[in-house]
């Protein structure tokens, strides 16, 4: 583990909120020591931006301090077949699928986040929906923070 080609994918249902927040925490765009303000959330790249018609597309967010490329992805509830599909494809291509790590970012969300996501993505009313998602995500922030910390810890110990 720990070569230069390793990739880590945070995935969630819509690829717009929790996976983006996890990736932003991972890359230190969002702070570790406090819950960020609503403005900070809105300046996170790709936050609440993933279109439903593009679900499944891995989106590159950045490279972390361990040298891993960080991606986000929306998979709805299809992770049970999409992950095997990607890994089996890499296998067929002769690529090492150990170099690709999938992290499930579908944590238990505040219902306001889900409602906000629905309003933004399905109804297209961003002005109402986005602040609702931010409000909900701020309440779930400690859970997401723990998730990312756990992932980083595992990556570091695997590297050592």
């Amino acid at each position: 583990m720990g070569n230069e080609f390793m990739k880590l994918v945070y995935y969630c249902y819509g690829g717009a909120h929790t996976s983006v927040t996890c990736a932003a925490i991972h890359l230190k765009y969002l702070p570790y020591e406090r819950v960020p303000s609503a403005k900070e959330f809105q300046s996170v790249p790709f936050y609440d931006k993933m279109e439903n018609s593009r679900l499944g597309t891995p989106v590159y967010v950045g490279r972390d301090e361990l040298g891993l490329d960080i991606y986000i992805m929306g998979m709805k509830n299809s992770n049970t077949f999409l992950i095997p599909l990607i890994k089996s494809y890499l296998n067929h291509c002769g690529k090492r699928h150990d170099d690709l790590i999938f992290v499930n970012a579908r944590v238990r969300l505040h219902p306001i986040t889900s409602i906000g996501g629905f309003i933004t993505r399905k109804l297209g009313i961003v002005t109402i929906g986005r602040p609702m998602t931010v409000w909900g995500i701020r309440r779930t922030y400690p859970v997401l923070l723990d998730l990312v910390k756990g992932v980083k810890e595992k990556l570091r110990s695997a590297r050592d």
Partner: protein, 151 residues
């Protein structure tokens, strides 16, 4: 290049189209032996969602696969294309939708298979389905080949 035929189930229309593409199935209609062999395949592997089934090489040495991805074909397509871009710079993958050719019969067969005591009826339904779908899949493969060869 890799060509992936995908539909809800990997062993019905996707497999049929992929087998036609590689030349495993030839002729105007499928033989009884071919239908029985595909029926056996369906009994074993129809529930393999997300696992690529390697069917073989076509006459231009392109790898041909069948894939079952339920109703999430578009998502599977975006995911595969995305990871192909990430991991391979030279490889190209071409995904072909075979789902619309499948129709309702495979759903009925899969739905009733576990509970039905009269498997023979389901087998006959499969024979009927395959004979009916064979021509349509042949057309799909012909169009796909033309698209690919024209590229």
């Amino acid at each position: 290049m890799q060509i992936i035929y995908y539909s809800y189930w990997s062993t019905y229309a996707a497999y049929l189209a992929a087998a036609l593409h590689t030349g495993s199935y030839r002729g105007k209609s499928p033989s009884k032996g071919q239908i029985d062999r595909q029926w056996n395949l369906c009994k074993r592997y129809s529930q393999q969602f997300g696992n690529l089934l390697y069917i073989g090489l076509d006459d231009r040495h392109r790898e041909v696969y069948a894939l079952g991805c339920k109703r999430q074909g578009d998502m599977a397509k975006f995911a595969l294309e995305g990871f192909v871009r990430i991991f391979t710079e030279t490889e190209a993958v071409h995904l072909v939708k075979a789902g619309p050719l499948e129709g309702p019969i495979p759903f009925l067969i899969e739905g009733f298979y576990r509970f039905s005591k009269r498997k023979r009826i389901l087998r006959l339904a499969f024979h009927f389905w395959m004979k009916r779908t064979y021509k349509k899949c042949k057309e799909l493969v012909f169009n796909t080949r033309q698209d690919l060869d024209g590229e």
